[in-house]
Symmetry: C2
Amino acid sequence: MTSALLTDRYELTMIDAALRDGTASRRCVFELFSRRLPAGRRFGVVAGTGRLLEQLAEFRFGDAEIAWLRSAGVVSEATLDWLASYTFTGSIAGYQEGEVYFPGSPILIVEGTFAEAVVLETLALSILNYDSAVASAAARMVAAADGRPLAEMGSRRTGERSAVAAARAAYIAGFAATSNLEAGRTWGVPTMGTAAHSYTLLHDSEEEAFAAQVEAMGVGTTLLVDSYDIATGIETAIRVAGTSLGAIRIDSGDLGVVVASARAQLDALGATGTRITVTNDLDENTIAALRAAPVDSYGVGTSVVTGSGAPASGMVYKLVAHQDPSGSWLPVGKRSDGKATVAGRKVPVRSLDHGVAVEETIYVEEPETLPKPGRGLLVDLVRDGVADPAHLGPAGVAAARDHHAAAIGELPLAAFRLSQGDPVIPTVYI
Amino acid sequence: MTSALLTDRYELTMIDAALRDGTASRRCVFELFSRRLPAGRRFGVVAGTGRLLEQLAEFRFGDAEIAWLRSAGVVSEATLDWLASYTFTGSIAGYQEGEVYFPGSPILIVEGTFAEAVVLETLALSILNYDSAVASAAARMVAAADGRPLAEMGSRRTGERSAVAAARAAYIAGFAATSNLEAGRTWGVPTMGTAAHSYTLLHDSEEEAFAAQVEAMGVGTTLLVDSYDIATGIETAIRVAGTSLGAIRIDSGDLGVVVASARAQLDALGATGTRITVTNDLDENTIAALRAAPVDSYGVGTSVVTGSGAPASGMVYKLVAHQDPSGSWLPVGKRSDGKATVAGRKVPVRSLDHGVAVEETIYVEEPETLPKPGRGLLVDLVRDGVADPAHLGPAGVAAARDHHAAAIGELPLAAFRLSQGDPVIPTVYI
């Protein structure tokens, strides 16, 4: 399935005009960055990079796409010819997927001709904006859960393909598993889930439903105990499965109260090893509020797949430099009110003090000062049109998850406050 | 591309258990509905139905999916055999796409065996929740724009495939066009767009950029005039294109002030027919605030594709009735705290008084009273596994857009207040 029409029309009309006047072949640098974090957030998390590289390989205008563009009168025949032979031959550097980012961080730096780079604007932004919104929210939930595992269960609360991306992004940010099977198949994310209320209601009694589930899945399964009355549900669950029951799930009610009572009941029944998982419209604040409750794991739906109040990351894709006809590089940036862009290619460094991040230092063009001590943030993603396979597929996801854990480990503790605040380190241009 | 793994794992494990104990073949009715509208909203708009019917046709567990499920140990061999031969053979009735809905409206009513119906839960909810969130937000923006056209330009602010769905949903709700090319190709949504700031910055001067654009696209094009200074940009635009220039676009600044000044400048230059389109982080409130400004059209991005504060519609998919072993229908509903479901199959009617909606009347099971005068809301979508082609493809989108306009026309004026309020008509169960 081609990704080439996941593109705003103006990208093709710009190419059309630029091919006519010769500017289409000027070498350009575009940067993808966020002017600010969502309100009150202290850091963001980059996700989607590996997906972008895979979609880049599918970014081809085939016969069907060309025919449709012709019938819709979008661009000239000359431009259709150019599109028909399109492959990206430039280079992309950027933040390793899973990395932490701040306002202005140059998350992707795309170098190529104007035409080959500008046409990737929408695809790159769609993927990075959504996936990073999910990962950024997920990272806050992981911090709030304070070591207890989280499962992503929000597939039904976002577009059906975004759901797969969300499961992947949450996993990179430290979630343990997802309910989404396609994310398991495509990206190697561990999958989980046992039964819904409909399964219990289908049966002539809760007891028959539980017995059939234990028969099929073994006593290690998770029984959903709140279809009717929770105390009765727990009693029935342990009677049917025995005290070796793996877990119960509670999906309703005032969880702080309900969970404490459920734990006491389980313990009284001798099911001291039976875990409790909760799944009722959780977000980072309700997760944190349950820290004192005997919850063993959380299932999170709507809030994580919708970025917990910030469903788009606000990233933009801007031209920051191009070669003039003489071949020398010219830094450029628009000056629009409230949306000005820092011109020139960037070199970002996470400045560290005894291993703790203190500044996002962004060197612009050729800095006169030497880089401060710290960690260089750019990795090669695509060279001369060829993606580094280390970022692709399940192995890329696993690497991103590992990288995320390391990058999070560098942040000062203030990064994990849930209250609204400023970015935890400043961005400084040099 | 199969949609079969766009599914939560628990659907397959429920089938696994239900196949073992024989309940999998019980006839069931599932309903898809929303317990409440997003905070303060006065109505919702159904979208995604046609997409769901198309994905239903692709819901097949092929060899690759079966092999992965086996390797992941998700279900038994017997269940894998059942999945391998899966096709939905039941029936689906529901609200016509584009219809207005309220809390409890049975937007889809799915009848089939437990196994064949439960497995569609996540796919149906993913599509309806997202698409309806966009359409519901879009309808408020259309009302706020008071007849001036709106273009959807938010592809970059949502997942790359959700972007296509968003363009389609906004069009159904009355938007005039989209920037998204795939939505044009797949769903027949008119596409629009000319140039971004990068195009201007690429050139050695704004004048050269404008001249090349007019050369390629003609004087009817839209020139983006705020890359540097708006007044200079407008002066240059008219000098290059002449007073027949189609439109200017302004993407920054305090639009109320900027637009009035731009209009005065255009008129003074003699470009009285040149339109003004604005595109700076608009939502229904800023659109309404520009009613007195000389804006000719709006481009809306982030807010429409993220549901303007309500990125998921909160729809759920619940078992409401099943046949017992004797073949008689049994209404069922969970009683979970705060999430109770009204048991029994529903028949919804939009009760009207002189053509104006006054109540969402929902008859439960076999009502003893006769239906009130009004409009029956259910249409057949799928009969015995076969989708009604009237709902598919671009023709389905066009029909949904027409239906939406008619359904919106029945609502009382209070529906279009932007302030927070209750649903504009009550839902009454009979």
